[in-house]
């Protein structure tokens, strides 16, 4: 991955500066939907610059966790501290320092990639020059003016990735980021959201081997409860597969 780090020296520097203080601290975190508990008793701590990979079957609470960390959902019990700010009280302080790549691309179908990104750039106070830069880096400068509904799912996912990192967030929340991406596209976005992008990452995944390669810390969820939380070195892929049985 050396060429990638060389491409983005500034962001790699930033990662060094950030190392040391925990980027995410959760203690007894809980979120309910009515009486159904979507996430329960989750406690963990993640250092800045590290990657947490979340495994679990559908409905295990992965998306809920990502949305909680993104300040889109409020916790119902326990405490959550993200980038040093207590949620939900100080959520406004970290908005704009978090990038979320959700299942939905969070983009308007009728607008072109450039218009979508310009809109987000304005909302985040980012200069318009960054938009062209991002379009080039996800390999879409050639189709930047077409409405999104004309693009393939893989291209839309690349625009969504550009949107998620447009404002250079310190924390990246990625919900199955490589869904819909072919290997070439996957390689293309590696410097933006991959292991060496220089950001703290929380990633949800269904792929045991690929997920473990990305991870520093592994979290396994089942029925909203943490059933596995360990350093990647001590996790066997078989354990991950076990989660889905």
């Amino acid at each position: 991955m050396a060429p990638n780090t060389a491409q983005k020296p500034a962001e790699a520097d930033a990662a060094c500066e950030r190392a040391g203080s925990p980027a995410i601290e959760l203690d007894g975190l809980q979120r309910r939907y009515g009486e159904r508990v979507a996430l329960n008793a989750l406690s963990l701590s993640l250092e800045a610059g590290q990657t947490l990979v979340v495994f679990g079957p559908n409905g295990a609470g992965k998306t809920t966790l990502l949305r909680l960390l993104a300040t889109l959902l409020r916790p119902h019990a326990g405490s959550a501290r993200v980038l040093g700010a207590e949620l939900p009280a100080r959520a406004h302080a970290v908005r704009g320092r978090i990038g979320l790549l959700a299942h939905e691309p969070l983009l308007y179908r009728e607008l072109s990639p450039r218009e979508n990104l310009l809109f987000h750039a304005r909302l985040h106070g980012v200069q318009a020059t960054r938009v062209q830069d991002m379009l080039e880096r996800v390999g879409l400068s050639g189709r930047a003016e077409e409405p999104l509904r004309n693009l393939s799912r893989g291209m839309v996912q690349r625009v969504a990735i550009a949107r998620a990192v447009l404002h250079d967030p310190e924390l990246l929340l990625l919900d199955e980021p490589r869904a819909n991406l072919d290997p070439a596209a996957s390689e293309l976005v590696e410097p933006l959201i991959g292991r060496d992008c220089g950001r703290t990452r929380v990633l949800s995944s269904h792929d045991p081997l690929g997920g473990l390669q990305e991870a520093d810390v592994v979290l396994g969820l089942r029925g909203g409860r943490p059933v596995l939380l360990a350093n990647v070195a001590s996790v066997d892929p078989e354990q991950i597969r076990e989660l889905y049985r």
Partner: protein, 266 residues
């Protein structure tokens, strides 16, 4: 905790309703123009006043909910609107009967109070369909609160608009209680108090019922989860289901720190 106070409240409501009815039929004088028909005034107007106060109060309770996030405020707001709607049906029925008796029509458009009550009733009738159309319970409460606040502000605004628009042609006892003879005014006030008490009592009954149902559900849930702990079933049994298959998993509900990488938050 609810039981004793509720019983006392029920008794005093029943007593005051009896007193009010007695006064209406045996104490209050017959009105010169309308005769016996005018007695409906002692039911219609207090019902309307209480229902409207209920609507406005529900808005204040909704503010309480949005400020505190305490679901009891949401429940109060819900029950108040529900009860005001039921009283509202009474208002429209008695108003209609009165109109038929006085003017020979079941509905008259030049009675601004009744007309604006109809508009308010139509607005609040959407409250329950709105709630049931939202799945997430928390969002349901929040949206319902926003509705209740907006609608409560709408109540006086609507009155102003409708009153301005209606030529005030029919001199009626309504809205002129200060000019009533003493006996009528006294009877009216007792009726108002009795119907207000009835309103509060019915609200309390509904809240108690809801509260009890909630407690029952919580107990049942606890029963289930205790079953789960001994490994019989239920959601919390998931961990014990995974355990035999994957002995290497870390099973503690509060996962332990991983040296070097993870540090337990204090």
């Amino acid at each position: 905790m609810y039981g004793r106070r509720l019983r006392a409240l029920s008794f005093s409501t029943a007593a005051s309703l009896c007193l009010a009815l007695g006064l209406v039929f045996f104490f209050a004088p017959l009105e010169a123009d309308q005769g016996f028909l005018q007695k409906i005034f002692y039911v219609h107007v207090p019902l309307a006043i209480v229902a409207l106060c209920g609507f406005v109060a529900s808005g204040l309770m909704a503010i309480g909910y949005l400020r505190t996030g305490d679901s009891r405020w949401d429940m109060r707001s819900y029950v108040t609107i529900h009860m005001s709607l039921i009283f509202g049906v009474g208002v429209l029925l008695t108003g209609s009967i009165w109109a038929k008796g006085s003017w020979g029509h079941w509905w008259v458009w030049d009675e601004p109070t009744l007309v604006s009550f109809l508009i308010i009733f139509l607005l609040y009738a959407i409250y329950q369909p709105l709630r049931f159309a939202i799945e997430d319970p928390e969002r349901q409460s929040r949206y319902a609160a926003v509705f209740a606040i907006t609608a409560a502000a709408f109540v006086p605004m609507n009155f102003i608009a409708v009153r301005l628009s209606t030529a005030y042609v029919h001199p009626r006892v309504l809205g002129q209680t200060s000019n009533l003879p003493f006996k009528m005014a006294f009877t009216f006030l007792v009726c108002l108090a009795a119907i207000a008490l009835l309103y509060v009592t019915l609200c309390k009954y509904e809240m108690t019922a809801k509260h009890t149902r909630g407690q029952l559900r919580a107990l049942r849930r606890r029963l289930h989860s205790e079953d789960g702990l001994v490994g019989v079933g239920g959601r919390s049994a998931v961990a014990s289901l995974v355990a035999p298959a994957a002995p290497a998993l870390q099973m503690s509900p509060r996962p332990q720190a991983v040296p070097g990488r993870l540090s337990e938050s204090s």
